[in-house]
Symmetry: D2
Subunit: 323 residues, 4 copies
Amino acid sequence: MKNIGVFTSGGDAPGMNACVRAVVRSGLSLGLNVYGIRYGYNGIISGDMHLMKSYSVSNILQKGGTILKSARSEEFQTKEGRKKAYEQLKAKGIDGLVAIGGDGTFTGANIFYEEYGIPTVGAPGTIDNDLYGSDYTIGFDTAVNTALEAIDKIRDTANSHDRVFFIEVMGRHSGYIAIHCGIGGGAELVMVPETSTTIQDVIDTLNKGRDKEKTSAIVIVAEGDEQGNAHEIANKVMAKLPKLDIRVSTLGHLQRGGSPTSLDRILASRLGLAAVEGLINGKSNVMAGIIDDEVVYTSFKLAISKTKPISNELMRLVEVMNN
Amino acid sequence: MKNIGVFTSGGDAPGMNACVRAVVRSGLSLGLNVYGIRYGYNGIISGDMHLMKSYSVSNILQKGGTILKSARSEEFQTKEGRKKAYEQLKAKGIDGLVAIGGDGTFTGANIFYEEYGIPTVGAPGTIDNDLYGSDYTIGFDTAVNTALEAIDKIRDTANSHDRVFFIEVMGRHSGYIAIHCGIGGGAELVMVPETSTTIQDVIDTLNKGRDKEKTSAIVIVAEGDEQGNAHEIANKVMAKLPKLDIRVSTLGHLQRGGSPTSLDRILASRLGLAAVEGLINGKSNVMAGIIDDEVVYTSFKLAISKTKPISNELMRLVEVMNN
Amino acid sequence: MKNIGVFTSGGDAPGMNACVRAVVRSGLSLGLNVYGIRYGYNGIISGDMHLMKSYSVSNILQKGGTILKSARSEEFQTKEGRKKAYEQLKAKGIDGLVAIGGDGTFTGANIFYEEYGIPTVGAPGTIDNDLYGSDYTIGFDTAVNTALEAIDKIRDTANSHDRVFFIEVMGRHSGYIAIHCGIGGGAELVMVPETSTTIQDVIDTLNKGRDKEKTSAIVIVAEGDEQGNAHEIANKVMAKLPKLDIRVSTLGHLQRGGSPTSLDRILASRLGLAAVEGLINGKSNVMAGIIDDEVVYTSFKLAISKTKPISNELMRLVEVMNN
Amino acid sequence: MKNIGVFTSGGDAPGMNACVRAVVRSGLSLGLNVYGIRYGYNGIISGDMHLMKSYSVSNILQKGGTILKSARSEEFQTKEGRKKAYEQLKAKGIDGLVAIGGDGTFTGANIFYEEYGIPTVGAPGTIDNDLYGSDYTIGFDTAVNTALEAIDKIRDTANSHDRVFFIEVMGRHSGYIAIHCGIGGGAELVMVPETSTTIQDVIDTLNKGRDKEKTSAIVIVAEGDEQGNAHEIANKVMAKLPKLDIRVSTLGHLQRGGSPTSLDRILASRLGLAAVEGLINGKSNVMAGIIDDEVVYTSFKLAISKTKPISNELMRLVEVMNN
């Protein structure tokens, strides 16, 4: 292996830059040329690939977003698109890829590998923490801390006005961010897609709090909860508890940005090195992850098909902390 | 004057606690007893008033929200309510009030003073900075910095994905927060209630940016803009520019909370002292403010009726910075 | 078991409050009375113990420091002191203790248990992360993130002036904070007590950087490094490299305070519950910890005698990232 | 005027980048070519000057430090050095300069102007806020907020351990940062170069606090205080009050870095535009500043020779807030 390419794809996540930096510097350190590919798979297809030097990634460790840009590629989902991609890689002599992204990224990588056999190792970059094969994904810890800072601020105003707030955090298919925010934010209740919570459960929790003379409350809602989004849930609750002063806040895209936390910078650095070493050691079609503080490689197939369950211990913790 | 009361009323703002602390400690320092009144005017009516010691306000200088709680009082808007309030104050021997709040707070204080003549001095506590009689209101600087941190994060993801973001900030009747966020956040455009911006203006600005190969853009929208809220505006723009990747983020209540900035802590401390000194010096029915770094007292009437215009220099600055 | 006490002892750490809250609410939830003991072991001796309600720990989850105060107790190191402590506990009917602290705390707890047999479970609260029996200690993640924010700021000025900074972080006997800050802060070198780095090594690293046209550099020094503190090391380097613009920054006590991160809040909450459940299930003389995401109990003896080695993988990562 | 140059000089300050951006974009907007000059006066002498485009300053608004680098120039203090500088400017056709910096920067600019008559307008960029001719200097508000965040954290640990902390903030000749931190941080005492405070005053303040059962205390020390630095002062106090648990923290260089606050970004943007407009309108040998929210131009001579006194009102405020 002589020349490798690195790209970011799918929704951006804090720490992607730290991972790009790690791939570039690990590659250089291990004697490889490293190409930075812009705009994910689109950049492979269009040949938007540039040789990186050590200084190309100076001072990006602490930067949110991704200097390589990210995009979802429709063209790469076609056979023709992937053929073009392959030809571009061949033309540049790129014989290995590091793909930083989530589900969709690895699904594409898997197909591409099966068709063209270019060795690819992934690094899990998504704030959702929903990939099997790594305890944490790059960006998750930052997203939770960002959301938590917002929740702390909202609690100030909830307390001052004796209000109930429904706060929606990211997580279309996964309640990881929500449950961590719930415990960290001292929420009275957490609503996640993985478990079923009825509107009556919400009402019971709020009433229980008022019985104990709690004057304000926070309910964390994962955007993909089965009861709807935070606005919809709040409306249903208001219909039944018209006396409460209920407000809604949807945290939205600010959860994606910002300078990565220590944990995300270190995780991203470790996985960047692990991905390059994986390629050199002949691994392919796998995602590098960290489980129990050890680097492990999990096949793309498994990483995207198996689900990481939400922890019962954490769900219970929310409840106990409300006593 | 022997006994004074202090309360917070209307929407809470960061720095209200710093102001409460300043009123209590200034009062004690100047030989007064100070009562903390909870829940704004409601607390006067219900007699929810408590003698404060110096330690009652320890460690609240840096806390968001208000330990005295805030509320809007419907009862105080009735003659009967105000009569009850007066009787409660008499019963406690309270012969002066410090009211921390905004428009509504001072409107009530003005009526109450005209009816019962209890000396009252206000301190401007509102994130909107829309009160005549003070360059800054308590909470404004914090709210802008909080919004700006969110905008910085959103720009990370806007840049990574070449997106256009419409970001809605607080300001139902005033564009102060929006214009400050616009300059501080490097926005391409700012939409405020004070000036008229058409959808075509938005489109022109976005097109101009793309002509210069800017790949992403931020538009700041004050919630009270005449074109609608950020979602409505974004929808109108999307209808005309379907190729753009347009997203919306409404920052919402997180702008109200959080630890106050240095500016807000100092402003709140100065105004707390100024309010107490005003009372002692026989001032009443006025709001203490700071103009050109000097304490000034403005009649409640003027403070709530006169509008503080948005600065043309700042509006122009947004435009120039886009070149 | 009916009545338990909880206290914090030794150097304070962010998240101690979150753990106190978790102990109180877990205790109440499981049918126990919980006493908050102030000033660590001194408070047991003096009987400074107070029955806690659920609201006693409201809104402390996000607060730095410890509402129970902390202190090192000389009296508890005497036989007489411990006898008094025992009598106070008996008088209150306290039949179990949760001790939140580090090395010294658990050493005392161990002796006390051997002498008087009062069941005690510990929770590791120390920013140093130097306790065997838990992957993370409460406060470590916050301390690292706090230090990292400072390092990011210092890098701004280092870059602007082409300077070399020696930044000293906490860690008298352990390089955990330093190594995490080194990777997270993109440092050129990390000096920790666990490994030997000569002044010549520092000089070589700085020269290597300059050969690659790096104009600034950051060296992280754990306070307990064998070459001395950051000032001493910087002086030795300056003597050999007089042309470099070398500066020193000692981060100091700010690393101990601040609102805990998500990770610390969750860790503290889990360990607070685990400590109470441990007591109820008959565990004693052990520290609750989390290893590989599972709650484990390690004897105090082992926790304080066995050392947690610094990771070679992380040490190597610093080096690779400098290529 | 056709071609102008912009540079940063002296100690770096947050917001310098925002000002560089404003100069570049204002210049382009007003039809000028703008050269970015690196390393302050050294860059003029060596011809390290580069034509800037609008995108050259993209995404630097929120960045700490200065992309143009800063340096103190010994060569520029010689006649010969200034002659070289003049020749370089002539060669490039640069007929106007914007100098962003402090005292030293404007002293140099003043001499250079008198010798060679190249129109120069300054923008005050220094965290010390010690320049006559502007209410605020660029970087001051950020430095105070950065220090305040650190002080808040240190108060957590001071409270937990009942300690007295002497915290040293920047300000070799000026107590501006110290007094703002003192009020914002709720300090018991502030020691600044402008006023004389004896060690006995410190002791009296600490004793007074203990009489009121305050268990911890914060003393803010400006680095240039006449009693010495924080360590020296603490040692003198410890000698007289050996029972107190006294600690010292020197905040140091972290006060120089970090993303600028809203106030600094807006101030820097306004002053960048004002500087360019000043040049175009024939102003020279002046510093642009903002007094009472209006742009004003003050001669370099006045700006560097006249001192901005520390506010008595603020000094008194510290005292009153301690009651």
